[in-house]
Amino acid sequence: MKLIRSIYEWLDERLDLGELSAPLRHKTVPVHYHSVWYYLGGITLFLFGVQVVTGILLLLYYRPGVNEAFESVQYIVTRVQFGWLIRSIHSWAANLMVFTAFIHMFSVLFLRAYRRPREMTWVSGMLLLFLTMGFGFSGYLLPWNELAYFATQVGTDIVGQVPVIGHPLMVFLRGGEDVSGATLSRFFGFHVAVLPGITVALLAIHLFLIQRQGISVPPGMEAAANALAYLRKHDPAAAELWLQRAGFPEQRSMKFFPNFFLRELMAWYVALGVLGALAALFPWELGTKADPFAPAPAGIKPEWYFMFMFQTLKLIPAKVGPIDGELLGIGLFGVAGGIWLLLPFLNLQGKGRRSQLVMGLGIFALTYMIAMTIYGYLAK
């Protein structure tokens, strides 16, 4: 302890760490009925950390390439000690991370935390969500198994349907006209270099914005707190009276460090426990090696987080009036994604009829995604 203390003092003397950590010490987290949602962003961040660590570990043995990828993953899960566990954790954490990122997004939406002045935090968060899905899509192919091969075939084909830019984009993604070894090399590059690089930069911006602007409180509580502050300034006695009469609890908050931080650590610990249990009890399957000249197996499915889109595309008929059905579906999802990215600009104040519109959209989207996902799994 004394040693740590003296190392800290040595560094502090040279770097003035006290000043550097001051914002962290002054940061507070609002405490209210919905505070539980504040943990989800942190859990997503933690799972990202797990992905980085287990991903680097997998890189020690994984070899990209049509003749080696499947065999190297097989080697990891059968020969390397605890290799099955590391791979299983990587797969499970990926899925849990998408899940918590979605919950984080919807909780921010329903608590109206996207409103002015936090538009940039929302936009960076949405981009991170898209990147997370990109990680999922590119990582899915890397074991080069049958399911992944055809999922990538279908997924990149959908990209190819987009008018004008679709075909060149598909060729860029596949590294040619077909899903082949070139696709595997590219997806490997995207998955381990391009996406992590962009993600870390965006994550830094996202966290900086949260640090800079503080944590949002729901608009009703914020308005009450502002009114109370106003009253206190001009008529303290009335303020106290109002506080008693309304029975309105004064807005409470806890220090970020160490109070919230330690709670967040506990949440991470629980997340790790859940992750370890899932990975150990339900090890991720490897399946059979991809064979480009074998027919697609029955029951081919994308990852669950793409399921609602997959199912929608299956339901749209081949032609809707003069428009190609597939194209219509892709167009609609493109528009929806765009609207979602820029959602705060529909409702900058976080109140009024515009706010109801955004809430309605949120409830619709959530219901639609859940319903279509369930439908997708039930439908044969």
Partner: protein, 175 residues
Amino acid sequence: MENKDCGCPRRENPDFLDSGLLPAGSPGTPFASTRRRLIEILLGSGFLASIASFLYPVARYLVPPAVSDLGSDEVIAAKVGDLKPNSGKIFKFGSRPGLLLLNAEGEYKALAGTCTHLSCTVQYRGDLQQVWCACHNGIYGQDGRNISGPPPRPLESFQVVVRGQEIVVRRTMRA
């Protein structure tokens, strides 16, 4: 009377308190603080033990699985006539290189091909009639003895048997 720290009934320990070991104004009673300390130790050691259990699989994972050395103790290094007198050839002996040489007198010799200095692969130099390592100018005799340069130990030498048209290299058995 209640303990300020934990709100639990205060347990007096006059002997200890009166002993003057505690500085004046120490918070809580000695009992309360040892109880807290005990909980801290239990929680802390449990936490650390769980962290160790997370790191253990990672540490084991980092150790590459042992590659079974598929090379047997015997290998066909070359065919008769492959080598001209006073020349050498690298052959695969298991997973490592070996050096087969035919000296000017027409005698076959086989040595480990890995330099004992920093593991470069050696070669036979006809002009020197010696085995040479290009990395740091290490020189071995035809029997593998380290003659000059940095190599600290001789090269392991193998037994050579000419069996019909095949030149077989055999690892000499050690007792």
